[in-house]
Amino acid sequence: MIWQRATIEAARQETPRSRTLVLDVPDWSGHLPGQHVDVRLTAEDGYTAVRSYSIASASDSGRLEVTVDRLDDGEVSPYLVDIAEPGTMLEVRGPNGRYFVWDPADERPVQLIGGGSGVVPLMSMIRTHGDRSSTVPFRLLYSARSPALALFRDEIAERAATDASLDVTWTYSREAPPDWTAPVGRLTLETLDAALFPRSAGAVTFVCGSTPFVERVATWLQDAECPLEDIRTERYGG
């Protein structure tokens, strides 16, 4: 797999700490929903740094968009979130990962569980599902720190309101909207249980978030006797 030159075509601020970069890659091969891409930055003196980011755009869009969350002590993400401007050149390699991927031909219901910026690859699945007018039942459980830090909040709400096959459960770990009645705090087993498809639905489950988030959720899913092979996980950070 080779490095391809890319230009930042546009940048959209998503939250105070995250931004979506629209990348123009002349010969982009396209991607599957859930895949990620390596991004390489080169300094003027030739120093390079590589990180991997989840793709947020729908697979049928033909567009490569990554949504990057700033790690305060990071080397690459502060540049991508705060400094890089449209016209900036970088390189990409990918798309990568063929397992944490939703196959639109698979008719099983899809359970998405995202924590924080772990919602990004799930968003690619939701967008692909929506753009194809797929009727495969989708459920998203999204645990965000606060409404201000929830990624794609308006878009997810709008898609859920207009797509009968997409059901969304929000949960907030630090701060909730003013009219919120559900408990605020770390995702609980009760919230998870209420959001899941019934076991008999035979859903395939995608979990993405920080390691502690994914460990907790995946352990609960196993306790609930969800078959191991139907749980796919991806973790960020570390």
């Binding site: 930055l41 401007e85 352990t219």
Partner: protein, 198 residues
């Protein structure tokens, strides 16, 4: 004209010996797994080496832990670009486990794990003091999310080859792709040659 990302200077520019191309250093220990962390009770834990001829050599946890173990200090390199230098492990060398096992017909091994993960490694990369079944990390029992009770440790290859939750090695005459190898990763995975993807 040089190609560069305007305004990017980067931080860790000191040359780090021991850092393969395209890798960056991390002090933490990121977790990467395709599926959930399986629960592996020690009283049911088992490690098996199955030969080409169909002979199976088995160890219970107690039998495995009764084998001589070694302390290993090594660098580890993940295909997602992080490297961690000087990590401390304790484990049983595969040379010890393979004592008296006929490997003459085998050129490769498939690691099998609790949870269903598999990965393929050439047999010469597992022998000769290059690989271990590790059960301690940093002086503590290996945490489940990092592969405990025991994982394969074959640190000269990208870390997806160091299969977590290992339960056996099946010897093979021909190479055959494991889980990530079927999903886009390289058959061998040498970090110094950047064999990440095929």
């Amino acid at each position: 004209m040089g190609f560069f990302s305007s305004g990017f200077s980067g931080r860790r520019r000191a040359d780090t010996p021991g850092l393969p191309p395209g890798q960056y250093l991390t002090e933490s220990f990121p977790v990467l797994s395709a599926g959930p962390t399986p629960k592996v009770p020690l009283d049911r834990w088992q490690f098996t080496v199955a030969t080409e001829a169909g002979v199976a050599h088995r160890w219970s946890w107690a039998e495995f832990r009764a084998l001589p173990a070694e302390d290993v200090t090594t660098d580890i390199h993940c295909v997602t670009s992080w490297s961690k230098l000087g990590t401390g492990w304790r484990g049983v060398s595969l040379d010890t486990l393979f004592e008296g096992i006929d490997t003459s017909a085998a050129g490769f091994a498939m690691a099998h794990c609790y949870g269903g993960y598999t990965t393929n490694v050439p047999l010469p990369d597992l022998l000769g003091g290059k690989a271990w079944i590790a059960f301690d990390f940093g002086g503590e029992p290996l945490a489940p999310e990092h592969g405990g009770p025991a994982r394969l440790l074959v640190p000269h290859l990208y870390f997806w080859k160091s299969a977590k939750w290992i339960t056996g090695l099946r010897l093979m005459a021909e190479d055959s792709p494991g889980f990530w190898e079927q999903n886009g990763y390289h058959m061998y995975g040498d970090p110094w040659r950047e064999q990440r993807y095929w």
